[in-house]
Amino acid sequence: MSQSFDEITTQLKRRHRKSARLKWLSMASLGVALLFLIVFFADMLNKGLPAFQQAMVQVEVNYNEDAETMGRAALEPDIAPLVSRSFERLIPGMIRDNPDLLGTTETRWVLTNSDVDQYLKGHRNELSEDERAAIDERVENEQVEMKFNTTFFTHGDSKMAERAGIMAAAVGTIMTMLVTLAVAFPIGVMTAIYLEEFAPDNRFTQAIEININNLAAIPSILFGLLGLAVFINFFGVPRSSPMVGGLTLALMTLPVIIISTRAALRSVPDSIRQGAFAVGCSRWQVVRDHVLPLALPGIMTGSIIGLAQAMGETAPLIIVGMVAFIPDVSASFTQAATVLPAQVFTWAGEPERAFVEKTAGGILVLLAVLIFMNATAVLLRKKFERRW
């Protein structure tokens, strides 16, 4: 005898309850993940956004003869302790380069030191009561102001927090990524083409395949050790240079590019290959004229994601010496340089309070670049997505 609807409905209730419970559970996990993300971003923004503001003070600069040897002499004694020493150090050079300045006076906005900056941002600082009063007075007279921190984007690292910026690290990152891309992209794509389109299916190619897949899961610091042993010790590539960093990161990016390129090649339907073979294409012509153009968006997407991964990598670069104090933009691929995450790492180790916001600011810039790159990858994939 078959069951009635009522009987079946009663049984179903339990099943429905169970699925509702699972649904809630999965939504709760999503909520927790989102919460982490929000807390992380809020914390970073909270700590990092002040880094884009910097206290400036309006001072009278009196280019007198004493200032030729000691910059501080050009400033009025009451304001001198508040001005960044980095500016004081510039004054003798300015007079030397332009002797006409001597004997003139100029009113200009200059960086304050980081204590003033931190005081105005409401953080801990080492100013005396008198100094604080002097600053408060100048703030009221609009002689001390918070301005957009261009120094942060136009200067390299410095031991004076108000003078420290990400320029050197950003250029280092770009140079390192150029090396990585130039090495990993052609090798990775050609390897994938060989494995996917040409290689016979035998033990040897299977072993290669397994190894490449494993390579993607190796802790990145091991690539640093490999880079140290091979590139620095064996080939003699200068340490700390974008060259050695780029080569090391290329090793790390290779498996990502190979795997994503193979996936992109595999997603090109066989009917295209068959059609191309049938009109008399050689295997290479099939790949070059028919498969590669269709796989290219996928290859680009994978490469960008691989590159973004390499861009955020610090551990292997510590081993090859790219975590260093680099105040100047490096001019060549063999000069010492640093990269954004390594710069963040350096700043995170500084004891001064002012470097906390530099650290967070650096992270924000890095995050923005990475989000931009990943968004590009997603857009590329969306734009060229094809259905057959």
Partner: protein
Amino acid sequence: MNSQVAEREMTPMTSQRAGQPVTRNEQVNHDLSVRVRDLNLWYGENQALHDVNIDVFQKTVTALIGPSGCGKSTFLRCLNRMNDLIRDVRIDGLVEMDGRDVNEPKMDEVALRRRVGMVFQKPNPFPKSIFENVAYAPRMHDLVSRRADQDELVERSLRDAGLWEEVKDKLHQPGTSLSGGQQQRLCIARAIAVQPDVILMDEPTSALDPISTATIEDLMDKLKQQFTIVTVTHNMQQAARVADYTAFFHLGELIEYNDTKTMFSNPYTKKAEDYITGRYG
């Protein structure tokens, strides 16, 4: 492999089985295009073709019929060595074209495919413009160099494929934007653009609607004035309509090869008769 079979004077219609003629011996007025003798093919351990002997004649349509999995598509792909693309395939026997064994080591499969074109079951135009679909292969084979020659060849091929009037104003739109039937005719234009001798068609109409199918059938009738056509079909009416000769395959064997009229009116073998009258398949 039976050497006697290979050396025996093969009458145009003959069985694949030694000493077991299954067709009437009729006088044939066509020249030989492809001669196949004792063709065996294995996919790994599986033998897919057993001692196939067949003569394909120039400027005729030959239809290969038979139930699914009978080896007709496999046989078709032996003629332009598309089976080379599949792993673990072993081929034994003679497929002779223009006095050469197509499987001999010296034969370049690219040269072979230049002379033996192919149209597939599912239309597979390249995801390029209509113009490029046709012009690509001739340019690759250096058949055309000047721009004007190329334009002329594209127009001629599209005209021969009966597609010119429909696409002449949108040659630079993607080939994939056409309807299924148009795409298939584009694939035919692509195949004939390199002036092959033989065109292989692997169930060319099975993915198409009846009207497109009729168009393609008419086209095959016209194209056989220039080309030798070998087509696989599941549709026996189609074979009866378009083919001059029909070959019936069953379980990897060529059971009967006959002129179409005889095959459908008075087949020599019981198996062919049963299949044609719909008793199995």
